[in-house]
Amino acid sequence: MRRSGASGETDHQARLIAIMTAVLVCLFVLSHFIGSNPIPVLAAVMDATGDTQSVIAVILTEVRLPRALIALFAGATLGLCGAAMQGLLRNPLASPGLVGSSSGAALGAALALYSGFAASFWLALPAGGIIGSLLATLLVYTLAGGSAGTATLILAGVAVNSIALALISLLINLAPSPYAVREIVLWMLGSIANQSMKEFWFLLPGTLLGWALLAGTGRSLDALTLGEETAYTLGVNLSRLRWRIFIAVALAVGSAVSITGAIGFIGLVTPHLLRPLVAFQPGRLLPASALGGAILLLCADIGVRLFPAGTEIKVGVLTSLVGAPFFLFLILRSRRWQT
């Protein structure tokens, strides 16, 4: 695996992270220039930082900023968790969307929302997402068995995703709010339009906690590529690692999805795109994939705002349109390997 010396590797990794961070910052800034109405962004920044509260300043800080922040955090979460799950399960198709973490989170959040519980207790929404995500992930993992092959894991994921989808539609049909009916699309495809800073604060604690838990797992994931026994001899406690990653994914994905809905394919695609750039090392993939996920989702969100449709399309529609063919490509490639 190790192609170059340790120092060269670190240099390479540092350069990759620096470039990706620069791209991310550019996209984040660019994101504030794009909206349904052209506003003088620089003047808005002056107003927002000064004491004069103008409409353009409010549009910048209350409409565009939360949207960009949520795209950044949700995208990074999905990319990071996808990389962590693929590393843990040593399965190229593992990702929050496929092993049920996202749809479970959507179900939990929807339950908290439509029951009216989230209205009286703000933490209920992300908490619902976190609990739903954890339960769904554990269910898939148990169904597939500890050392599951790709096919078994995907099948278990498909089953749990379908159950979650069915329960969400049942829930929405039973919801007291008449507006709920059309929101199944939001939960299943995801959207970050019309969010405010309030939603960003809902999302923040869980995602940060999840990221922090994942931050230290890189070395164990690297060891795991050598096989479970070898990893064990290297001092990796596999069952603790598994719990740590499942809980971290549930915290991060649960909080993000409870705000954005289950945005598809970011968590699957990002690690695959970046793996060759990090010499196929799961530990190095984690930060790169987090940055990559944020870049992809920001791009997609800028894309939907530039899309020349009468009404804005949902960001999840775009990520799925781009991601699903990629998923097919992965399946075809893995079939070629098998034969």
Partner: protein, 322 residues
């Protein structure tokens, strides 16, 4: 499988279907009798008298079934209680139906064909939004179905009241309702002031009401400017949050369909920027039942909107009147 109970090719043999048809029927008799021989012509004045009397005294329908919330409410307002055979289920729902309390006295239907046949109606009231297959089958089976057009302004409301009243043989009651509505609107108009503050309706999922909506009509009557209409929005349409903020409305109104419930769509109304743009003035909720259907209850909405007008906002706004 279904057959017309009566051959439609000979209209004179048919019992007249509607009141206007009945008038034509009487007129035909008149012309016919005039063209007849002398003895018949001798009785012409008598026949004429009888024809007119029977046209006016033509039996109003006695088993009216309504399958739409809008016709439900007009039926409940206009008909004699013994004329009403059934109203639709939505008529009982207090957020949608202005007449929920009186609707509770009648059997409800779900606009299902078998259920309706069991009610044996002599008039079925429906609306343009009623399920078309149901209307088609009922007509095919020879039942009389009258459709109420959707109202998007005051003139439509008056027209629908008159139309329904005529169908029910309650012309006087209809005119009285219209008179009361006009009287209440005039009273609001009398308090009008020079200034017309800007407002717009902002609903769950970011929808607003532009031109040709009852909300627009009511805003104007209550002395507000409707920014959505000025932005060129026609009917009900989505308004982008940034566009809304740049339009700088002085007051936001909403009309929640189901207050007290939660959904992503409804959460959009809690965006902090909305609060900022109206300088902390909360969104005023006008009950949805005032205009989900066109009817005299539009006066309640106009009065509530006028009550929220800064010129006479000492009275609490958005109150419900029952």
């Amino acid at each position: 499988m279904f057959r017309y109970p009566i051959d439609q090719s000979s209209p004179l043999l048919l019992p007249p279907a509607s009141r206007s048809d009945r008038m034509v029927f009487q007129l035909d008799l008149l012309i016919l009798s005039y063209e007849c021989s002398a003895p018949v012509r001798f009785f012409y004045p008598l026949i004429c008298y009888l024809a007119i009397v029977s046209a006016w005294a033509g039996e109003p329908p006695s088993r009216v079934v309504s399958i739409n919330l809008c016709s439900d409410q007009l039926l409940l307002m206009l008909a004699k209680p013994e004329q009403i055979a059934s109203v639709s289920r939505l008529a009982l729902e207090p957020n949608s139906s202005f007449m929920a309390t009186s609707a509770a006295r009648y059997p409800v239907n779900d606009a299902k064909i078998e259920q309706l046949l069991g009610l044996d109606p002599d008039l079925v009231l429906a609306s343009e939004f009623s399920p078309q297959p149901v209307v088609r089958i009922l007509r095919h089976l020879g039942y009389r179905v009258e459709m109420l057009p959707v109202s998007s302004n005051l003139e439509d409301i008056r027209r629908n009241i008159r139309y329904t009243a005529a169908l029910l043989g309650a012309g006087a009651r209809g005119e009285a309702l219209i008179e009361e509505l006009d009287h209440r609107l005039q009273r609001v108009a009398a308090t009008a002031v020079e200034s017309q503050p800007s407002a717009l309706f902002y609903q769950a999922r970011g929808y607003t009401s532009g031109l040709e909506t009852l909300q627009h009509e009511a805003l104007i009557l209550a002395g507000w400017r409707n920014l959505s209409a000025e932005k060129g929005i026609r009917g009900y349409g989505a308004i982008d949050l940034e566009t809304l903020l740049l339009a700088k409305p002085q007051q936001l109104f909403s009309s929640a369909y189901a207050p007290g419930t939660d959904s992503l769509a409804q959460r959009q109304l809690h965006h902090p920027a909305l609060n900022w743009i109206t300088q902390g003035k909360p969104i005023i909720n006008i009950p949805y039942k005032y205009w989900i259907c066109g009817g005299p209850m539009i006066a309640d909405a106009v009065e509530a909107l006028a009550g929220a007008h800064p010129a006479h906002s000492q009275s609490a706004s958005g109150e419900e009147r029952e």
